[in-house]
């Protein structure tokens, strides 16, 4: 027997959560050709079909682009610190893509590695992730190449499978999932099944082998010539987690803010002395692939990429992990 729920009930539930003070986020059509995960204002703000995946990731709601760590005020020669310990509101992310949810365990490891990031953990605890299995994939999706598939439940509290005609099967994986959906679904024999993933585009192990042994290979120079060094790939990637800490606001009363950073920026590894260990874009592109396919797996045992294809989709010049990895394989 399977639990199913209709789209209208689902939207009603979302409206309920919002009314109940929860912060509900999900895909929304912001502009005719732009779908983003966004905090929803109402149930019918939620977009459930007619798009492949949003061009940002649910990382926005757990590891936000700008997070005030603490404030400080300078009085005379003393400084007063203002803690930022306001409680996080309960949060529901609905209709996330499996490749988004699969990245959460990755972030959990990083933010609880040698230092437990309480900001992240507080927010993570208050968040329930409801995934919507993919019903299609495009030329940029490559979840199958990194050991995932359109229906993978990794990282999600509950997963919806579209059954067509506005019906979805709900499978709750965790208590948080059950807490949300228990009593709200009906029994049915119809079970949903995710579509088959895209065929494997590259062999992740071969990529790992290549990057660990071809550090000086001219391939990097040639391939990265057209990379313009912006932060689009890193910032739209569900798994990328690098951040910078900056002071924002006037000197007298300031706030220390954690913001996203990207290894593709030229100033990312700029030293105060003026030296930059990664002076050209080739070294930065190499670093990104090295971190995702070799360094992170070496440390945490899993590939730092869920194959969502956002980097390829958003890159203004058509690069991204997919194009590098495929070229490494066929190069």
């Amino acid at each position: 027997m399977s639990e199913i729920i209709s789209q209208s009930v689902l939207r009603g539930l979302a409206a309920e959560w919002i009314a109940g003070g929860k912060s509900v986020a999900g895909p929304a059509r912001v502009k005719p050709d732009l779908v983003l995960y966004r905090t929803l204002r109402s149930g019918d703000d939620l977009l459930l079909e007619g798009f492949q995946r949003p061009s940002n990731s649910i990382k926005d709601f757990l590891f936000p682009k700008a997070e005030k760590l603490y404030g400080y005020k300078i009085h005379g020669n003393s400084i007063e610190l203002i803690e930022n310990d306001s409680p996080e509101p309960a949060q529901v992310i609905i209709a996330a893509r499996p490749c988004d949810a699969a990245a959460l365990p990755i972030l959990d490891h990083v933010f609880n590695w040698d230092f437990h990031d309480e900001f992240y953990n507080r927010r993570r605890a208050a968040t329930t992730v409801v995934t919507l299995a993919c019903s299609a994939h495009d030329e940029n999706c490559f979840c199958t190449s990194v050991g995932l598939d359109p229906g993978s439940e990794r990282g999600s509290d509950a997963i919806l499978f579209a059954l067509g005609s506005g019906q979805y099967e709900v499978r709750c994986a965790t208590e948080k999932g059950h807490a949300l959906f228990d009593g709200k679904t009906e029994k049915s024999e119809r079970t949903g099944k995710a579509i088959a993933g895209p065929e494997k585009r590259f062999d992740a192990k071969a990529v790992r082998a290549f990057v660990t042994t071809h550090f000086e290979d001219p391939f990097w120079n040639e391939h990265a010539l057209t990379c313009i060094g912006c932060g689009t790939c890193a910032f739209s990637c569900p798994a990328c987690h690098c951040f910078d800490i900056v002071d924002a606001g006037p000197a007298a009363g300031n706030a220390r803010v954690k913001t996203w950073d990207s290894c593709q920026f030229s100033t990312f590894t700029a030293h105060a002395s003026g030296h930059n260990p990664r002076p050209v874009q080739a070294t930065r592109q190499r670093q990104r692939i090295l971190h995702k396919f070799a360094i992170y797996p070496e440390k945490f045992g899993e590939i730092l990429c869920t194959g969502c294809g956002n980097c390829a989709r958003n890159c203004p010049v058509g690069l991204g992990v997919l194009s590098v990895a495929t070229e490494i394989n066929h190069g």
Binding site: I74, H75, G76, N77, G249, P250, A252, G253, G274
Partner: protein, 666 residues
């Protein structure tokens, strides 16, 4: 910067009456970075300054803010006091709580609150101050004088007598300028050559004056104290060192019939000539457009005749470089050309006066030559057409000047005076002659000037008509001058033998190109732009370049000489020390981050920024950059605000300081 001393002044009761100075001093003490905060009745007084010096020592302050009057009043005073106590003067700031607070806000609570915030602004600025050293620029203690007229001569002599070497560049074969061509000068009627020639000889023989005659300034590089001048010595075809000036060559030269530029076409000169007898240097020049030898390799008599073998037909222009610390521009004037076709689109000519059509219509400088003893007619006034003595001469003033339709709206200042002089000279030479003058207003404001004009009218019988001349036609050998006498209220027709036009004064030819070479401005008529009409009349906006004489605006000889001495004294001030010190509050560019777009170079009003290259110690090219020339930058900061990558900054008003001040208002 964490040890700042704040000294709040009462200014007697000017501040203390409306601002609670104790309250302010107490609150300021808590400001970040403030080490000590006190107030005193008269900060600018000696005891007041003593407090500052003492606190700098005892509290080891590294920044001072004096909250009192406007920085324009006492910033220098307190900076000197701090320097005396060993603190770098540029670490001292002022907070204007008098003119901009206590005097304009009478509500005690508001005034006190505002005073505190004004002081906080200055404290934020002081906290981000950097110690600056005055800019030291080496000075080449030599000066360049462009132009050898009376102004140039006076400036050169003053500077040379003060012990500095002078390089004088004169375009004509001889120095002397326009004054050398005059007959007598108003208002004393003393002979122009008699008073000028001795000064010319003095220049020729002065040990510290290097005279480049028949030469022009080709290029000017460098900046105040360090100019590199390229001078073009035009080919003279006479070796000045060998020539003794005996004159055999210009006597033997067969080609006598070339109109003499010095006589403005009134007389002729040979192909090899000196412009006038008292020329300095008295060395001839061969006019290559007329000399048969140079054109068709004919003649060559002068070469044969010259015992000193000084003639050299192979001579060519030579470029010479001179290093100087200051430049005085004294290029003088020329007359408006009156003829129908004008060199500049904005000017129009007087077709109706027939200048250039009727031979006996001449301009004032041509008349000077005709009545000058060294002139082509030996001082006897013979009219150019047939050499007859003119019995009736009409002088027309304001020809071109004060006439918007002709494009020269300004008054040329000296024409009224020399026209009156001309009527006198004419009367003294032709006793039965009658001079007629058409004028609009008589402008005789100088010392003894008006009396001079009255004498020309009352004693020498010049007939003055207040009115304009409409047309001059030639009928039966007579020039019929049709004008109006507005005082009598009726038209006047005079049959004249000679008509003299008092043409407007315009700057010498090529002034615009010279101004561009020197990076100084000129106005729409070409006169050079002074730095400030009242306060700095002989300086220009480019440090180290001064102007004197008619090139700045129409003026008579006394004024030109006075301006020349003024410019010379300014040069002497500059050349007094080996080094020039300048305020260090100037721009500086971070050459690592400069994107070399050079917007700053386009923007800088002083051309103080140049392109430069960053190279490794071994000379390998790293990147292009813009670089500020500390000698020229005046510290306006315009480059700082147009620099996209924020690489340019202004010392004394750095971004760090300004942003800290704005953010302190949060």
């Amino acid at each position: 910067m964490s040890r700042i001393g704040v000294f709040t002044c009462w200014c007697g009761e000017n501040i203390a009456r409306t601002v609670d100075v104790d309250e302010v001093a107490k609150r300021v003490a808590e400001l970040p970075g403030v080490r000590c905060s006190l107030n005193y009745k008269y900060m600018c007084s000696d005891p007041g300054q003593a407090i500052v010096r003492e606190k700098i020592a005892t509290e080891k302050l590294d920044g001072v803010v004096v909250a009192s009057c406007s920085p324009h009043m006492h910033l220098k005073t307190f900076r000197k006091a701090a320097q005396a106590a060993g603190l770098n003067p540029y670490l001292v700031e002022m907070a204007n709580i008098r003119e901009q607070c206590s005097w304009v806000h009478h509500d005690r609570v508001q005034a006190t609150a505002k005073a505190f915030e004004i002081i906080r602004l200055s404290v934020e600025k002081a906290r981000n101050d950097a110690a600056l050293q005055p800019i030291r620029v080496p000075v080449t203690r030599r000066a360049l004088v462009i132009g050898g007229g009376v102004a140039g001569i006076q400036a050169a002599l003053d500077i040379a007598d003060a012990g500095h070497e002078v390089v004088m560049v004169e375009r004509e074969p001889s120095i002397g300028g326009k004054m050398a061509g005059l007959s007598e000068t108003f208002p004393t009627l003393d002979c122009s050559q008699c008073i000028l020639t001795p000064r010319m000889v003095e220049v020729g023989q002065h040990p510290r004056i290097k005279l480049y005659s028949y030469s022009e300034v080709e290029k000017v590089e460098g900046f105040v104290g360090n100019f590199r001048i390229t001078i073009r010595q035009k080919a003279r075809y006479v070796d000045v060192s060998k020539c003794t000036g005996c004159g055999e060559c210009w006597i033997i030269c067969p080609l006598k019939r070339n109109p003499s530029e010095f006589d403005y076409g009134m007389g002729m000169r040979p192909a090899i000539y000196i412009p006038f007898p008292q020329a300095v240097p008295a060395r001839p020049v061969i006019d290559k457009s007329q000399c048969a030898k140079l054109i068709r390799n004919g003649c060559g008599l002068c070469e044969k005749k010259c015992k000193a073998e000084a003639i050299n037909f192979k001579d060519e222009d030579r470029l010479v470089e001179e290093a100087v610390g200051a430049v005085v521009v004294a290029t003088g004037y020329k007359l408006y050309s009156i003829a129908k076709s004008q060199p500049k689109a904005t000017l129009a000519g007087y077709g109706e006066y027939g200048y250039g059509k009727y031979k006996d219509v001449i301009d004032s400088l041509q008349f000077e030559r005709l009545v000058s003893a060294s002139g082509p007619t030996g001082g006897v006034l013979k009219r150019p057409s047939d050499g007859a003595i003119p019995k009736s001469v009409v002088f027309i003033s304001c020809v071109g000047s004060r006439d918007n339709a002709k494009g020269l709206p300004y008054c040329s200042k000296i024409c009224c005076m020399y026209t009156a002089k001309h009527t006198m000279l004419y009367k003294h030479k032709v006793h039965d002659g009658q001079a007629h003058v058409f004028y609009m207003d008589i402008r005789a404001g100088g010392k003894g000037y008006d009396e001079f004009v009255r004498r020309a009218i009352e004693q020498d019988g010049a007939q003055y008509y207040r009115g304009r001349v409409s047309k001059i036609t030639q009928e039966g050998g007579k020039l019929v001058v049709r004008g109006a006498d507005t005082l009598a209220g009726m038209p006047v027709t005079i049959e004249a033998d000679l008509v003299v036009l008092a043409a407007a004064m315009r700057p010498a030819d090529g002034i615009e190109e010279l101004a561009q070479k020197l990076n100084i401005g000129c106005d729409e008529f070409g006169f050079l732009l002074e730095s400030h009409p009242k306060l700095r009349p002989v300086e220009t906006n480019t440090a180290g370049i001064f102007i004197a004489g008619a090139c700045h605006s129409p003026k008579d000889i006394p004024e030109a000489v006075a301006q020349a001495s003024a410019a010379a004294s300014k040069v002497q001030v500059m050349l007094a020390a080996d080094e020039l010190t300048r305020e260090p509050e100037i721009a500086a560019i971070n050459e690592q981050t400069c994107a070399a777009c050079f917007t700053c170079i386009r923007t800088c009003p002083y051309h103080a920024i140049d392109r430069a290259e960053l190279r490794t110690p071994r000379g390998a090219f790293i990147k292009n950059t813009a670089r500020v020339n500390p000698g020229l930058c005046m510290g306006c900061g315009t480059c700082v605000s147009v620099c996209p990558s924020k690489s340019a900054d202004l010392q004394g008003f750095t971004d760090q300081q300004v942003y800290a001040m704005v953010e302190s208002l949060a």
